[in-house]
C-alpha cells in the first residue's frame, strides 16, 4: 500500500513536471537569448489558457486542437509586445527590464480581471474523467496527454534550436551577440523571433494548463513564480536545466502533498521556499553561471 502511494505521487509529480517544463521553456529561451527575465511570461500562459477556454466553451473546439491556435495567437501578441515595449529598452539596465515586464504582467492580469472577472474556469471535455491504471497507479488521461504534448513541445524546441537556421542563430546570439552580428546574423530579427517563439510556447502551455488546472486571471502569475523557482533550480537560461528543475519541483510538490499533513496547502509554498533557500545559499542558482 505504501509503495503504491509512493509510486502514485511519483507519477503525479512527473506529470505535473511536464506542464511546468512547458511553462518554463519560453522563459528560458528569452532569458538565454536576450538576457531578460520576462515577468509577463506567465500572463502569456494565462492568455493561452483563456483562449483555449473560450474556444472550447463558445465554439466547442477541443483544447488539444487549440494548442496550435493559442500558440499562433500568442506568437503575434509576442511580436507586438516585443516591438513596442521590449525593443526600446534592450540596452537599459536589467532593473528597467524587470520593471517593464512586471508592469506588463500587472497590466495583463488586471485586464483579464476586467474582461473575465476573477472566476475560476475549467475546461471539461468528454474524456476528462477517463483515467488509466497501471498496476496500482492511476493516471488521468488528460494529465498524461498534457505530459506527452509538453515533452513533444520540448523536443520540437530543441530540434528548432539545433537544426533550423533561425534556431541556430538564436544559440549563436545567446553565446555572443556582437560576434553574431559580425558574422552577419540579424540580431534584432533573432530577438524578435525568439520572443515570438517564447510567447507561442507560453500560449501552447496555456492550452495545456486550461485542461488540468483552473483558469483565472492570477494563474499566470502563480505559474511565473514556479517557473522562476525552476530557473533557479536548473541554472538560468539553459533548457536541460529547466527540464531538471521542473522534475525536481514537480516531485517535491507531489511528495510534500502526499506525506506532509495538510500537504496540498503547503505544497503551494514549496517553490517560494526553494527560491529563497537556493538563492541565499548559492546566489547564482543551483547549477550554472551568473548572468548579468
Amino acid at each position: 500500500m505504501e509503495w503504491a502511494d509512493f509510486l502514485q505521487s511519483f507519477a503525479n509529480g512527473l506529470l505535473i513536471a511536464g506542464l511546468y517544463a512547458a511553462v518554463t521553456l519560453g522563459l528560458t529561451l528569452v532569458l538565454g537569448v536576450m538576457g531578460i527575465v520576462n515577468f509577463a511570461h506567465g500572463e502569456m500562459v494565462m492568455l493561452g489558457a483563456y483562449n483555449t477556454f473560450w474556444l472550447f466553451t463558445l465554439l466547442g473546439i477541443d483544447p488539444l486542437l487549440s494548442i496550435g491556435l493559442s500558440g499562433l495567437l500568442l506568437f503575434f501578441i509576442g511580436l507586438f509586445i516585443y516591438r513596442f515595449t521590449i525593443r526600446p529598452i534592450l540596452n537599459d539596465p536589467p532593473l528597467n527590464q524587470l520593471l517593464l515586464t512586471l508592469g506588463l504582467s500587472i497590466f495583463l492580469q488586471n485586464l483579464a480581471m476586467i474582461f473575465w472577472k476573477t472566476d475560476s474556469r475549467s475546461v471539461i471535455t468528454p474524456y476528462s474523467g477517463i483515467s488509466l491504471s497501471l498496476g496500482e497507479v492511476h493516471v488521468g488521461l488528460t494529465r498524461l496527454l498534457t505530459f506527452l504534448i509538453a515533452v513533444g513541445l520540448t523536443l520540437l524546441l530543441l530540434l528548432f534550436l539545433y537544426k533550423a537556421r533561425p534556431g541556430r542563430a538564436m544559440r549563436a546570439v545567446s553565446e555572443n551577440n556582437t560576434a553574431s552580428w559580425l558574422i552577419g546574423i540579424n540580431v534584432q530579427k533573432t530577438y524578435l523571433l525568439a520572443f515570438g517563439v517564447a510567447c507561442a510556447l507560453a500560449g501552447a502551455a496555456g492550452a495545456l494548463v486550461s485542461t488540468v488546472m483552473y483558469t483565472f486571471p492570477m494563474v499566470g502569475f502563480k505559474l511565473s513564480l514556479k517557473a522562476f523557482c525552476i530557473l533557479v533550480l536548473g541554472g538560468l537560461g539553459n533548457i536541460p536545466g529547466a527540464l531538471f528543475g521542473s522534475v525536481i519541483l514537480g516531485l517535491t510538490e507531489s511528495f510534500v502533498g502526499t506525506y506532509v499533513p495538510e500537504g496540498s496547502g503547503w505544497a503551494e509554498g514549496i517553490s517560494f521556499i526553494l527560491i529563497m533557500i537556493i538563492l541565499i545559499i548559492k546566489p547564482t542558482g543551483l547549477v550554472g553561471t551568473r548572468r548579468e
Partner: protein
C-alpha cells in the same frame, strides 16, 4: 540641488503644514478617510524609495507590511496591547525580519534580490494560510476600530508617522548616508574600494524601510479593523509600494509623495468605475514610465516643464 533658502519655498511649506494640520476641520468623513489612505500609501512609497537608494528593488514589501499588520493584530487580540504600542511592536518585528533577510540576501544583486523578495512575501502568505490556530488563517483577524472609530485621531497619528518618514528621507538625503547609498547603487565594488561597507548600509536601508512599512502595516490592521493574508501579503501592496515612487521620481523627497497623490487619484477613480482590476493603472504606469519618463514626474518637471518658465536671460 539648490540649497539656498528661498522665501517662496518657505511660505509654501508653511502653508502646506498649516493646511495639512487644519485639514480635518475642513472636510467630511469621506475625505478624511481618503487622506488617511493617501498618507499610508505615501509612507509605503517613501520607505520603498529608501531601500531603492541602495539599488535594492524590492517586489515583496507586502511581506514586511503584513508582518507589521499581523503583529499588531495578534498582540491586541492576545494581550490587549494598546494599538499604538502594537504598531511600534509591528514595526520592530518587521525591522528584525528585514535585518535577517537583509543579511541572508546580501550577495544577491538586481533581479535575484527582487525575485527573492516576491518569494518571501508569497511564502509568508502560504505560512499564514496554513497555521490558522495562530494567525487566523484565510479567515483573517479582526480588531475593534482604532481610537473608538475617531478618524481625526487616526489622521493625526498617520500624519505624524508620515512626517517621521519624510524626516528620515531628508536625513538620508542631506547627510553622508546619501553618498554611501548612491555609491552602492551605482557600483557596489567601487563603493567597497572607497571604504564604504556595502553590507552595513544595505542592511541599514532595509531596516529603516522595514520600520516604516511595518508601522504602516500595524496602522492598517487597526484602522481597517480586519486583515486577511491574501491582502496584506498580496502582490497588490508590493506593486503599489514600487509604482508610486517610480512614477513620482526615484531618490527624491517629493517624488514618492507626488507619485502617490497622482497614482492614488487615478486608482480611486478606477475603483468606482470598474469592479475588478483597478490596479491596471499600476501596470500601465510602470510600462509608460520605464519607456517614456525614466526620471518620473519630478524629472519631467525639472528637465522639461520648469525650463519653460525660466526667464530667458540665463
Amino acid at each position: 540641488m539648490n540649497r539656498s533658502f528661498s522665501w517662496k519655498k518657505g511660505f509654501f511649506l508653511l502653508f502646506l503644514i498649516l493646511f495639512v494640520l487644519g485639514f480635518p476641520r475642513l472636510v467630511d468623513a469621506y475625505f478624511l478617510h481618503l487622506a488617511v489612505t493617501f498618507f499610508l500609501a505615501m509612507i509605503l512609497a517613501s520607505s520603498w524609495d529608501i531601500l531603492a537608494r541602495t539599488g535594492q528593488v524590492s517586489v515583496g514589501q507586502a511581506g514586511l507590511f503584513g508582518i507589521g499588520a499581523y503583529t499588531a493584530a495578534i498582540l491586541f487580540n492576545r494581550i490587549h496591547l494598546s494599538p499604538v504600542l502594537g504598531m511600534v511592536a509591528g514595526a520592530m518585528v518587521s525591522v528584525l525580519v528585514a535585518a535577517l533577510l537583509g543579511y541572508l540576501t546580501l550577495r544577491l544583486r538586481g533581479i535575484y534580490f527582487s525575485i527573492t523578495t516576491i518569494a518571501f512575501a508569497e511564502a509568508l502568505s502560504v505560512i499564514w494560510l496554513m497555521t490558522p490556530g495562530f494567525t487566523g488563517g484565510a479567515m483573517g483577524l479582526s480588531t475593534p476600530p482604532l481610537f473608538g472609530g475617531d478618524r481625526q485621531q487616526a489622521y493625526y497619528l498617520i500624519l505624524g508617522i508620515l512626517a517621521l518618514t519624510v524626516a528620515a528621507v531628508w536625513l538620508i538625503q542631506s547627510t553622508r548616508l546619501n553618498f554611501a547609498f548612491t555609491a552602492i547603487r551605482e557600483n557596489e565594488e567601487v563603493a567597497n574600494v572607497m571604504g564604504i561597507n556595502p553590507t552595513r548600509y544595505k542592511v541599514l536601508a532595509f531596516m529603516v524601510s522595514a520600520f516604516f512599512t511595518g508601522f504602516a502595516g500595524g496602522f492598517y490592521s487597526h484602522y481597517n479593523t480586519y486583515i486577511i493574508p491574501y491582502e496584506v501579503f498580496g502582490l497588490g501592496i508590493s506593486i503599489a509600494c514600487l509604482v508610486m515612487p517610480i512614477f513620482g521620481g526615484l531618490y527624491t523627497i517629493t517624488g514618492p509623495i507626488l507619485g502617490t497623490i497622482i497614482v492614488k487619484v487615478i486608482e480611486e477613480y478606477l475603483r468606482v468605475t470598474v469592479s475588478y482590476g483597478h490596479q491596471i493603472a499600476y501596470g500601465l504606469i510602470l510600462v509608460l514610465v520605464v519607456l517614456f519618463m525614466p526620471e518620473g514626474v519630478v524629472g519631467l518637471w525639472r528637465n522639461k516643464i520648469s525650463p519653460l518658465f525660466r526667464p530667458a536671460s540665463r
